[in-house]
Each structure stands twice: as structure tokens, then as C-alpha cells.
């Protein structure tokens, strides 16, 4: 192994792999309520994992995955035509401007994004009169879910669009033209040529968007208003509110296993390696 790999390997080993191993051990430690973390040499136990079968925690996982999956899918449905439009319809100048705007949205601070959405659509936002007119409250559960979804989408749309540009570009437009010249209407032509050819790109984009969403932290914390928690928020609360490190570690381990499984399944579906090279 070349020497040039050493610094990066050291960083990865000492600051990621070793701490993850420590986290795994911590997740089996016995926790005494009131203490900060587990005691040194505390006995090993499975109690931290058994506690996760509690319906509240299971519900937390289900909620996180449900909102993330829906938001990522909506993001794909919006981003795919947007990417196509940028690649096939726009002039060179507006293509560059559009890509620049999307990259700016990616680099924009997550806090700025969530604050802006809270300000625009939140409980004090400008949709409030509209909601009132329909007899809905901006504090109702479904609306807060939408708000968290909107927070995710504000990042997912630019991310998915930029990722899909390459996919759309590599699909030969002459295939859809050929289908049309054989008598298929344009929408059928795209549905049966363009879309299937974009499948690996779509699955890959879904995977990246989905892993981003399920590990979201700031978005549910601010927009969820304490009513919606994601797994990340619960891990943080275990750490900061009750200092129950073993339980936080157990949730982290399960979260990691579940998201790695999801990544594995999706990349198998896409027929590509698990991590982009």
C-alpha cells in the first residue's frame, strides 16, 4: 500500500472506524439512570436493544422512513423533468445559469433553508391565512409533516436534479424520436424508452436522497416543532437530555445497520457498486 494513503487511512481508522467500534461496545453496556453515560466496566447487556422494540421507538423509525421515502420520491418526480428540461430544452446560457442556481441551493446553509421555510410556510408564515380559510391549523400534525417534507425537498430537488443531469444526458434522444416516428405519442415514447434507460440513475439518485433524508437532523428539529422527531433527533436527545449513552448508541447502531441495508438493496437494484467511485 503506497505511503500517500497513510494520512487518509489514519484519519479514517482513528476518527471513524475505532469510534464506531467503541459505539458498538457502548451499546451493550448497562446504564444506571441518573449517571452520565455508562460506568467504567459496566456489565454487558442486551437491554438497550430490547428497549428499542418499544412501539414509540419502532414508530420513530417508521415515521422517519415514511416521510423520507415520500419526500425523496416527490423529489425524483420533480427533478427528472427539470433535469431533462435543462439538458434538452435550455440554451447554453440559461443552462449554466440554472445549474449555478442549483449548486448555490446545495451549498446554502441547512439552517438558512429551514429558517426560510419556517418563515414562509411555518406557523407564522404567509400560508397561514390560506390555511385558516380552509379551516386547517398550521399546527396540525399533517401540516407539520408536510413542513418537514418541504424542508427535505428544498435540498432534495437541487441535489436530485444535478445528479440526474448526467443520466438524462447519456440517454440518446433519437430513441424517443424513433418511437414517435413509428407512431407512438411523445409521452408513450418517453415512458417506454427514456425512462427505462434512466433506471440506474434514478435508483442511484433515490439512494443518495434517501440516505440524506433519513439522517436529517436540523430540518425535523426546527420544522418539526417538537411534534415530529427523526431518528437523529432522538439519538441527540438521549445524549443531551438524559445522558443515556448506551441507549443512544443502540439506536445509532440499528440506524446504521438499517440505512446500510437500504443502500445495499438499492445499489443491488441499480446494478452498481455501493459507493460511487
Amino acid at each position: 500500500m503506497p505511503l500517500a494513503l497513510l494520512p487518509a487511512a489514519l484519519i479514517l481508522g482513528l476518527l471513524l472506524l475505532a469510534p464506531m467500534a467503541g459505539l458498538l461496545v457502548q451499546s451493550f453496556r448497562h446504564f444506571t439512570p441518573g449517571h452520565v453515560g455508562s460506568d467504567v466496566g459496566a456489565p454487558l447487556t442486551l437491554a438497550n436493544y430490547r428497549e428499542l422494540l418499544n412501539p414509540a421507538i419502532v414508530g420513530l423509525f417508521v415515521e422517519t422512513f415514511r416521510i423520507s421515502a415520500i419526500a425523496t420520491l416527490i423529489g425524483l418526480v420533480v427533478s427528472y423533468p427539470l433535469a431533462r428540461c435543462i439538458v434538452r430544452r435550455f440554451s447554453a446560457a440559461s443552462r449554466v445559469a440554472c445549474i449555478g442556481f442549483l449548486v448555490a441551493l446545495i451549498l446554502l446553509s441547512m439552517l438558512v433553508r429551514t429558517y426560510a421555510i419556517e418563515l414562509a410556510f411555518g406557523s407564522v408564515g404567509m400560508l397561514r391565512p390560506l390555511l385558516r380559510a380552509f379551516g386547517a391549523s398550521p399546527n396540525s400534525g399533517w401540516y407539520i409533516q408536510c413542513l418537514v417534507g418541504a424542508g427535505l425537498l428544498h435540498y432534495l430537488i437541487p441535489l436530485s436534479t444535478l445528479m440526474l443531469l448526467g443520466t438524462v444526458q447519456s440517454v440518446d434522444p433519437r430513441l424517443a424520436d424513433a418511437a414517435q416516428s413509428l407512431g407512438a405519442p411523445a409521452w408513450r415514447a418517453h415512458l417506454s424508452t427514456t425512462l427505462p434507460l434512466s433506471r440506474p440513475g434514478l435508483i442511484g439518485t433515490f439512494m443518495v436522497g434517501f440516505t440524506f433524508s433519513i439522517s436529517a437532523f436540523v430540518i425535523p428539529m426546527v420544522l418539526g416543532n417538537g411534534r415530529i422527531l427523526f431518528i437523529s433527533n432522538t439519538i441527540y436527545d438521549r445524549f443531551s437530555d438524559i445522558a443515556d449513552y448506551p441507549s443512544g448508541a443502540a439506536i445509532s447502531v440499528v440506524m446504521l445497520v438499517v440505512s446500510l441495508t437500504a443502500v445495499g438493496i438499492l445499489s443491488w437494484l441499480a446494478g452498481r457498486p455501493a459507493v460511487p467511485e
Binding site: G22, Q26, V96, M110, V124, M163, A186, S215, I235
Partner: protein, 278 residues
């Protein structure tokens, strides 16, 4: 109605539907930012409905006189610059070695190097907190630096790898064939090829570090905290418009970063260079 006519109606519906989706998406992406900019200049002393009756700079003044934000900004800048420097050097060296090397385990290693991207940042922060406490490292800044080096490293490795992919090997071979030494080939072929990737990686690394909350939340101490952590606690304490002013300033910072990126690389190359790939 004939099949062809039905097809045309279908096309019209599809085209209108797609146009509607794109317009709604553009509004959705832009409106929150515009609202924030508008509200940041609100002259009212409370958070009222749109539009503001008058404009003032009071919230910007309030933002600049907030002690915690100034402290956070200073930490974030120092942290961002240091973390970017470390991960860009380590990442560039690793990416070049991976790209030029032919040793066993190369693919596994490069997958491993990108793995911090799929580990949830909260898990990285929590694991690091436990490990660093156990190792007796209690200095807030050192802890934050450790966390930010880990989360920024994959961006620099990926950007540099992408800028070399497929182009370096044949050019290096040509240089060696023409009598250059290994060292000469490295400095005259590989490093110049990698330059765009290094720039892109460094800019993304800085942006990631400057924006991180999930990892930093675990690693701060009462006197060392980053700007996003300070902003988040200000946001949760009272929802006033000082944050809107800070948000506008951060938007300006993003725009500046985007101009640098465009000047240094160009957006077309950025997409082509594989920063956004599946």
C-alpha cells in the same frame, strides 16, 4: 376519437402537467428565500405578517451586536479553514495514490474512504464524542476539528479522483515512454490534472464544515461552538428576525462562494467532474 388524436391529447396533458410541476418547483425553491430577505429588512420590532410596512437595518445591527454569533463565526472560520487544509492534503494524496496504484484491495479501500458519506452524521458525532472523551481529549476546538476532518475528507477524495479518472493513466504512460521519471510525471501530469478536483473538493469541504450542525452539536463545549450551533440555539430560544438578517448574510456568503467556484472551475465542469453522480 382515433388513437393518434388520443395520443395528441395525452401529449398536451403531459406537457401541461410537466410545465406546471416545474413552475411550482421554481416558486417553492425561491419564495422562502425571498420572504427571508424581505423580512430581514422589516422595520417592525415584532414578527408580523407580510409584507413589512417599512424597511430598516435594525435586525442587521442586532445581528452584529449578538456576542454568540460573533464567537461562533470566528470558530467556524478557523475550523473550516483548518479542516479544509487537512482533508484536502490527505484527500489529494490518497486519491492520487488510489488512481495511480495497482495494489490489491484498491476498490475496497476507495469505497471505505467514501464511507463517511453514508454514515449518518449524528452517528459520527456521537461515536467521536465517546471515543475522544475516553482518550481524554477535552479541548472543544480539537474535538470539532477531528469531526470536521472526517466529514470533509470524502468530498476531497471524490473530487480529486473524478478529475483524474481515466485521463491520468494514459498520459502518465506517454510521459514515461518519452523518458520522464516517475517523479516528473507526477508533477507535470497528475498534479496539474488534479487541480480542478482539488479546488472543487476544497470548496465543498469548506462549505460542509461551515454548515455542519449534526456532528458539531456533540463536540462543542460551553466556550467553543460554531456559527450554525449558535444560530440553532438562537432560533430555538426566540424566533425573532435577527436570524433572518444572519440568514441573508449567509446567503451573500453562498453567492460569493458560487462566484469563486464558477471562476475557478465553471459549473459545466462541476457537473461533468462527478461531484454529483449516482
Amino acid at each position: 376519437m382515433t388513437a393518434a388524436a388520443r395520443g395528441r391529447v395525452g401529449d398536451d396533458i403531459a406537457r401541461t402537467g410537466v410545465a406546471a410541476v416545474l413552475i411550482v418547483a421554481a416558486i417553492f425553491l425561491l419564495v422562502p428565500l425571498l420572504v427571508t430577505i424581505l423580512m430581514a429588512f422589516d422595520s417592525r420590532s415584532y414578527l408580523g405578517p407580510l409584507p413589512p410596512p417599512g424597511f430598516s437595518l435594525r435586525w442587521f445591527v442586532a445581528c452584529f451586536s449578538r456576542q454568540t454569533l460573533a464567537v461562533g463565526l470566528r470558530t467556524s472560520l478557523a475550523l473550516g479553514i483548518l479542516a479544509t487544509a487537512i482533508s484536502t492534503s490527505a484527500g489529494t494524496a490518497a486519491a492520487i495514490a488510489l488512481e495511480r496504484g495497482t495494489f490489491p484491495g484498491r476498490t475496497i479501500l476507495s469505497a471505505l474512504f467514501l464511507s463517511p458519506l453514508i454514515v449518518p452524521p449524528v452517528v459520527i458525532g456521537f461515536a467521536l464524542l465517546l471515543a475522544l472523551s475516553q482518550a481524554g481529549i477535552l479541548n472543544g476546538f480539537v474535538r470539532l476539528l477531528c469531526g470536521h476532518v472526517v466529514i470533509t475528507l470524502p468530498y476531497t477524495i471524490r473530487a480529486v479522483s473524478a478529475s483524474l479518472a481515466g485521463r491520468d493513466a494514459s498520459l502518465t504512460e506517454a510521459a514515461l515512454g518519452l523518458g520522464a521519471s516517475e517523479r516528473q510525471a507526477l508533477w507535470t501530469i497528475t498534479v496539474p490534472l488534479a487541480r480542478t478536483g482539488i479546488m472543487i473538493g476544497a470548496i465543498f469541504a469548506f462549505a460542509v464544515s461551515f454548515d455542519d450542525v449534526s456532528v458539531a452539536s456533540f463536540l462543542t463545549d460551553p466556550t467553543t461552538y460554531t456559527l450554525p450551533v449558535a444560530l440553532l440555539s438562537a432560533m430555538r430560544a426566540n424566533f425573532d428576525l435577527t436570524i433572518a438578517a444572519a440568514a441573508v448574510l449567509l446567503m451573500v456568503a453562498t453567492v460569493i462562494l458560487i462566484f469563486i467556484l464558477d471562476r475557478a472551475v465553471g459549473f459545466d465542469r462541476l457537473v461533468g467532474q462527478g461531484m454529483f453522480r449516482t
